[in-house]
Amino acid sequence: MAVDRLLPTQEAEDLLDLTRDLADKELATRVEEHERAETYPEGLFATLGAAGLLGLPYPEEFGGGAQPYEVYLQVLEELAARWAAVAVATSVHGLACFPVATFGTDAQKERWLPELLGGGVVGGYSLSEPQAGSDAAALTCKAVAEEAGYRVTGTKAWITHGGRADFYALFARTGERISCFLAPGQVEGLSFGKPEEKMGLHAIPTTTAHWDGALLETDRLLGAEGQGLQIAFSALDSGRLGIAACATGLAQAALDAAVDYANERTTFGKKIVDHQGLGFLLADMAAAVDSARATYLDAARRRDLGRPYSRQASVAKLVATDAAMKVTTDAVQVFGGYGYTRDFPVERYMREAKIMQIFEGTNQIQRLVISRGLAR
């Protein structure tokens, strides 16, 4: 059943209708096949892009949809309720556009944003390295300034859409400090590792990238030299909201599946939903989904009003992804033995939920951010 959402405008209602229609027809119908076979959904991002779903939170003058985060995140949630991997990659695309849109000069925005937001391309976000995940400041990939531009050498890791994306927000060390670049998806001296063999999110590759002296033109530097970590973290504040929304959508899908099943399956002469012990489990699941949604929407509304929201974004990421893990695990429980098989989607949901607690800052790191804000 469609989630009863509070949306600020008729425009937003129409957008959510479009999203549900498209997600039902293009995502829900293909997810099983691709997640099982670990194959990339060719053409799907072009469809999302043509519908205008790949530039939603960015300004109209550069081809974006000019939607507040409150609305954009609910679109991500609907996508995630059908196909977590696609929703995550969509969120990461938004994250990859953030440095140009927020820290680019007018000339850089004019040059790149229309293409990045136009729906014909997808982006990746390349901060992590094998030895530098939580501790992003420990990254070692180097960008050395030359007359013609920056020469990049080093290894990046864990890139969502790696090898498939058309561009990357790349973070590399320029001397002592870190800088942010808009890197093309293909350039001489850039190669990608074979996709990681993951627990879930099988349809979208996650790869390493090997930079072997590739040259990036000077004007691909975004913001000032050395401003990279600031850019990375401010992008992640927004990205975490995206992950919170994806986790909420995933949890919603698991709840819906569990509720349907509990209303059909009978034991001891009644529907299992009517056994209080199981009904209360479902009640806790519903409460977790609702509070996840409320929490990310609170953070989003603060962002939309231009208020500080970093702490609320971390809380939202923590609450929503922990909710997703709990709800998906309990959904498997509701299905009993059937839940443990691939005949039903709940085991996949459970596998997909786990990563949400890890990427874009593990939930330990979210607690670190939150507690730092509490320390006097």
Binding site: E11, L18, T47, A50, A51, G52, L53, G65
Partner: protein, 261 residues
């Protein structure tokens, strides 16, 4: 090229459809209403022709109650340029012939139409006759059941596909073409298209505006009358065939009994 697409709002095929108890017409309020999928394909065909022929314009024409505006918006958000909506209490219950007559009058309010496109059969009434009747009343060539459609200069060519086989038809424009479900995959409206659609012109006509005689439309003018209707009986348990080496012949006998083979 000026292309007109005839579109209809129908009950969502995924919802349960009912006849209203009073006059046995379709209970349109009981279900979600959508732009008929076959008409989405007709709109898609029109948009493809528009994209291939600079300076073309796509007009959608719909006949139906007020809320058919939603179906019209959908067509406009896909990319059609403008719309005409015949909306009048008095059209309730109109049959296929009355519909064709009324649509022809509405088409008469538009100038310079080169091509009229439609779906070959609406998913609710399923008479599948309106496009051909419209062509007949307009005195235009009728090319129905198209699975492929091309326009080259002033000539339209379709591959007509029915249970009887495939034929290739050509005609000079103006002409009426109805498309089948294999013609194309309709595009999704884009978010920008949805926004733009709100600003596109929709002309609403009453019977009088379109010059339609009230006696030509409505339930009372319909050539056929539904006197009684009953819901489909619920699915029964079916018949089990035990295979004792003769399962095949038993199944065949069953199918013969049902007049299926």
């Amino acid at each position: 090229m000026n292309i007109v697409v005839l579109v209809k709002q129908v009950p969502d095929t995924y919802s349960e459809r009912k006849l209203s108890s009073g006059d046995h017409t379709l209970d349109r309020d009981a279900t979600d209403a959508v732009l008929d999928e076959i008409d989405e394909r007709a709109v898609e065909s029109a948009l493809q022709l528009k994209e291939a022929n600079d300076g073309s314009e796509v007009t959608v024409v719909a006949m139906g109650p007020d809320r058919a505006t939603d179906a019209i918006r959908k067509a406009l958000s896909m990319g059609a340029d403008k719309a005409v909506h015949l909306s009048d209490e008095a059209i309730h219950g109109t049959d296929a012939i009355g519909t064709a007559k009324a649509l022809v009058k509405v088409l008469g309010t538009l100038e310079g139409t080169d091509l009229v496109l439609a779906g070959n059969e609406a998913s609710d009434g399923r008479t599948g006759a309106v496009p051909a009747m419209v062509a007949e009343l307009l005195g235009l060539p009728s090319l129905t059941h198209a699975r492929e459609l091309t326009v080259d200069g002033g000539t339209v060519t379709v591959r007509r596909e029915t249970d009887d086989g495939v034929t290739v038809l050509t005609a000079e424009l103006p002409a009426v073409v109805s498309v089948n479900e294999k013609i194309n995959e309709p595009r999704y409206p884009s978010f920008k298209g949805i926004m733009a659609a709100k600003k596109k012109p929709v002309t609403t006509l009453t019977l009088a505006d379109a010059g339609i005689e009230p006696s030509d439309v409505g339930l009372s003018a319909a050539w056929s009358t539904v006197t009684e209707s009953n819901p489909k009986p619920p699915k029964s348990g079916g018949e089990k065939v035990e295979d004792e080496g003769d399962g095949g012949s038993k199944i065949a006998a069953f199918l013969v009994g049902q007049k299926l083979i």
